[in-house]
Amino acid sequence: MSVRRPFEYIGEAIRAGFDWAGGISLLLGRALLRGVQRPWGIYDVFNQIVALGIRSLPLSTLMGVFVGMALTWQFGEALMGFGAKNAVGSAAALALVRELVPTLMALTIGAKIATGVTAELGSMKVSEQIDAIASLGADPVKKLVWPRLVASTVTLPLLNIYGNVLALIGGAFIADIVFDVPAEYFYETYIDELYPMDYISGLVKSFTFGLLVGLIGCYQGFQTKFGTEAVGISTTNTVVATSVAIIVFDFVLTTIFLPVG
């Protein structure tokens, strides 16, 4: 028995993982199916974009500037050793646009969006508000999941673009101040290094992450059991689930895009 135990646990965990993935795919299917039917709930979607997007601007600003600064500093130091500090713009560009900005943005802003959604829908679940929506003849998936899913999928790429601009500014600042590489030069080499595919790969990533965090946030909210502490539990699980999903999908998308770029 003591030998079988760990295997049973692993089996159990794998099955739970599959159940979870199945449930989440089902929710995505239902949201898309119902969402595309009229009325589209433009008003709800717009409200959610404001709620999820605009309120994430301060954190996005901070993220963008500081990632740009930190990475440029690191690369600058390394390149200076080879006497190649002028290449700092080219070096920073790819890492920021293709990888760091979309991923870090998703891990912070995305996690914030997902947990916010889980906490909101979870407390609606435990106070029977989701049942109440259904009992009044409306569809909770259409009313709650669809607008949040659209909003997070639209918002994260937009914030990604915004974050890229700020990362560039942060990088240029450090290049100029610390490494004496003129900001204009940094800018030119930075932009020169980037091809349309690099922007696309960054955007596809943040689009995917946006979809994932919205979906996980909603699913965890709907799965919340009874009582207020259940909301805390599902919110914590949301953080873990979004982080894992983002890291895994980041790797998958990177392997897809590297040969292309």
Binding site: S127, D131, I133, L136
Partner: protein, 252 residues
């Protein structure tokens, strides 16, 4: 008359927790049918089965002869347009004003103008005794007292003028005058609009006064169903003890 809502040989369990086993009863159109029974025995579950908020494992749940478990989204929508539920905890939408709460079903199912909705909202709030406060329509649920929230939730359920209303403990937590008012409202809706009511309650005076029939949940079924007089005269000890609130210390 054919029952408007009928449960026939219903089985329902949550994992190992068996709630109903071979449970059956029917509710006649226009009657007020009260469900009593111990806490945690499945009264709320019973109401949720009726409008398809919870699935059942076996048996039949029928609304006007149609199987609720087989209904597609459109049929369920229609069912819920006609059968409204007042949740035990109220379940008002926190993010919406009282007006938006009360008119939710109207916006979902009708094309009423804002003015018509405003009138309907006022009318319903009047009925539940919240009409005195002219500002209430624009208040958020969080700023209401527990009893006010409960009554606003009642108003939300009656706004669409459903033919059946499922009340889950509508009077719990209200003051005596408001309990009386809710009882009066249930009877008024029955008399004037022919509304069928299914009321889950622990409030025995209301049960005796408002109901045409009372059903007691006991051991996963409804073995005791009858008029208030019949139930009160029922010799079974569990019925007698339940309705008179008799408690034996050696019972636990």
């Amino acid at each position: 008359m054919a029952p408007i809502i009928e449960l026939r040989n219903v089985y329902k369990r949550f994992g190992d927790n068996i709630i109903y086993e071979d449970m059956s009863f029917g509710v006649e159109p226009g009657e007020t049918f009260t469900i009593i029974g111990g806490s945690g025995m499945g009264k709320s579950v019973c109401l949720k089965l009726m409008i398809g908020l919870l699935p059942y494992d076996a048996g039949h749940v029928l609304y006007r002869g149609k199987e609720v478990g087989d209904m597609d989204a459109e049929n369920l929508r229609e069912l819920r347009r006609n059968v409204a539920m007042v949740f035990q905890g109220g379940a008002l939408f926190d993010s919406m004003s009282v007006f938006d709460n009360v008119t939710y079903a109207l916006r979902e199912h009708t094309k009423m103008s804002d003015q018509e909705m405003l009138e309907r909202a006022r009318e319903c709030l009047d009925m539940v005794g919240l009409g005195y406060d002219k500002e209430i329509l624009y208040r958020m649920p969080a700023s209401l007292s527990g009893g006010m929230r409960k009554r606003a939730a009642l108003a939300r359920s009656i706004a669409i003028k459903p033919e059946v209303i499922l009340y889950d403990e509508p009077t719990t937590g209200l003051d005596p005058a408001n309990i009386e008012r809710i009882g009066h409202m249930i009877r008024k809706l029955q008399k004037e609009l022919g509304v069928t009511s299914i009321v889950v309650t622990h409030d025995m005076p209301i049960a005796w006064k408002c109901s045409n029939r009372v059903a007691m949940l006991w051991q996963r079924k409804f073995p005791y169903i009858g008029t208030p007089d019949e139930i009160q005269a029922n010799p079974a000890p569990e019925v007698h003890e339940f309705i008179n609130g008799i408690y034996h210390e050696d019972q636990d």
